[in-house]
């Protein structure tokens, strides 16, 4: 499921020339050429049809591709509801067996919390978790993340050529979110499998076997997390889960005066959301950052000699990676978007991959350029009430990785004749493998 796209990524000019040959006739989100390199397709959509109709998983949808239009969708949750997600499904038989399996194994019901809830209910969840994710709350993780990054680098054992995602960014992202969620080291292998399975069918087709394995994983994850929740309830610690368990709204906002604490299914859903929203996305942003630094030695140099350049490199990497490639919305009432009439119940894919490359608002958007002004005006973190809650956590992790690597490595480069490969996924797309040549200090 990997594809070499280096020819498109290497030279910006190539991207533009490719764009001219792109045809949107018979477009499909599952087209291998699109999945290999979606950016020229999105450029074409922005140019000719910024609200682009297509069909996926048997459902007609509209892809919204420009910064301006994505912004207006994200800022209007009353018209564009989050109460919808489109996942590719297995056969009806497998779906029924999955349902039975979840019940048999004692799985908890799935409920809407942060990502798929609308106002006014969304605000309750948002407020109950807000304090756990402030920039201040993140500073306490810096030390642990630094130790983790150093440990992973030690683990390379002096290797000079590595597949960097499996060697460094995957375990860093996974173990960082494991730390935040209170997962024990002894369960890290299970946790890695659960993490993979939480997003099954999102942005890619799914086989019946994979689907059933994923259902089992989800229940295992729920039961394990339920144990953590029960433990923190009995023995509070200074950690995220204890904060979530004890989180209360203030009296004025609470309906029956008890602060509306999260119920067990809500707590579980929240932890699963944090895992899927934080683990994979941060890994994608981290991997893309080192990919870009390997491709642009001048930025590696700058990062090394001038720590003050690092926040800009991190921010530009997030824009460039657009780790949440797209998110779903559902139209609640007849409306208009980009001059087009859109009836109620229309399904919409907000394309972060596209709007973060919108040449109308971002100059030379296809280039990696940490010197650009308006660095943080991009939409990669989202916008409005669903804007990424974990962005301080993500920035902290990326900063630690950049600090540790520039401190201990003198150079990173793509080995001659090799290149990064990308996942074929229209929602969760990122680097699948990143061969790196590394030089130690």
């Amino acid at each position: 499921m990997e594809v070499d796209v280096n020819s498109h990524l290497g030279v910006d000019q190539v991207v533009r020339e490719t764009a001219r040959r792109i045809s949107l006739d018979n477009f499909s989100l599952l087209d291998p050429d699109f999945l290999a390199d979606p950016y020229p397709y999105f450029a074409e959509m922005r140019r000719h049809r910024p609200v682009f109709p297509t069909v996926v998983a048997g459902t007609p949808i509209l892809i919204v591709t420009t910064d301006e239009l994505c912004r207006s969708v994200l800022e209007d949750p009353a018209t564009f509801s989050s109460h919808f997600s489109l996942q590719n499904k297995p056969s009806p038989e497998a779906a029924a067996r999955g349902q039975a399996l979840r019940e048999e194994l004692g799985g908890y019901p799935r409920v809407n919390t942060l990502v798929t809830e609308d106002p006014p209910r969304h605000a309750r969840f948002r407020k109950l978790v807000a304090s756990a994710f402030t920039p201040r709350a993140m500073t306490k993780w810096q030390q642990s993340f630094t130790e983790l990054a150093n440990e992973l680098l030690d683990g390379l054992d002096g290797a000079t050529e590595v597949e960097f995602r499996s060697a460094f960014t995957d375990p860093l992202g996974l173990r960082a979110i494991a730390l935040v969620l209170g997962v024990e080291d002894s369960r890290l292998d299970d946790f890695a499998r659960w993490a993979r399975h939480t997003l099954i069918g999102l942005g890619t087709e799914v086989s019946d076997e994979e689907y059933l394995a994923a259902q089992r994983s989800v229940v295992e994850l729920q039961l394990y997390f339920a144990g953590i929740i029960a433990d923190r309830r009995a023995r509070p610690r200074d950690d995220l889960v204890t904060r979530l368990v004890n989180a209360r709204l203030n009296a004025a906002e609470s309906e029956n005066g008890d602060g509306d604490p999260l119920t067990d299914p809500e707590l579980l859903e929240m932890m699963q959301t944090l895992l899927s929203a934080a683990g994979h996305t941060t890994t994608r942003a981290l991997t893309e950052m080192f990919h870009q630094l390997a491709r642009h030695p001048v930025w590696w140099e700058r990062a090394t000699t001038d720590p003050e350049s690092r926040p800009a490199i991190i921010e530009e990497s997030v824009r460039f990676a657009a780790p949440a490639v797209g998110l779903w919305r559902r139209v609640t009432r007849d409306t208009q978007l980009g001059g087009i009439d859109i009836p109620a119940r229309t399904k919409i894919l907000v394309s972060f991959a596209s709007c973060t490359r919108d040449e109308a608002v971002i100059e030379d958007a296809e280039s990696f350029d940490p010197t650009r002004t308006e660095l943080r005006s991009h939409l990669a973190w989202g916008r409005g009430i669903h804007a990424c809650l974990g962005q301080s956590l993500a920035r902290a992790q990326m900063r630690v990785a950049l600090d540790v690597l520039t401190d201990r490595l003198s150079a990173v480069a793509i080995p001659t004749g090799k290149s990064a490969t990308y996942e074929r996924n229209y929602i969760a797309r990122g680097i699948a493998s990143l061969p790196l040549q590394i030089t130690y200090r």
Binding site: A130, F133, R136, R248, R376, A387, S392
Partner: protein, 64 residues
């Protein structure tokens, strides 16, 4: 100028606090607390950034 916070829009993301912790603080109940309303001349650049970068558009500036 002074900072005006729309409590109904704020989602407590804390981007403002990351830029200007001496002005903004997300409390344990998830509510944003304005530590100072009046913006001093030397801080105006940072405060304008908090207004621009607030993901929910909850911050505005007003003449005193």
């Amino acid at each position: 100028v002074k900072i005006v916070l729309d409590y109904d829009k704020c989602s407590g993301n804390g981007i403002c606090e990351s830029i200007a912790p001496e002005y903004y603080h997300v409390a344990d109940d998830g509510d944003l607390v304005l530590l100072k309303e009046q913006v001093s001349d030397q801080d105006i650049g940072a405060i304008r950034r908090t207004v621009a970068e607030c993901p929910t558009g909850a911050l505005t500036l007003a003449p005193q």
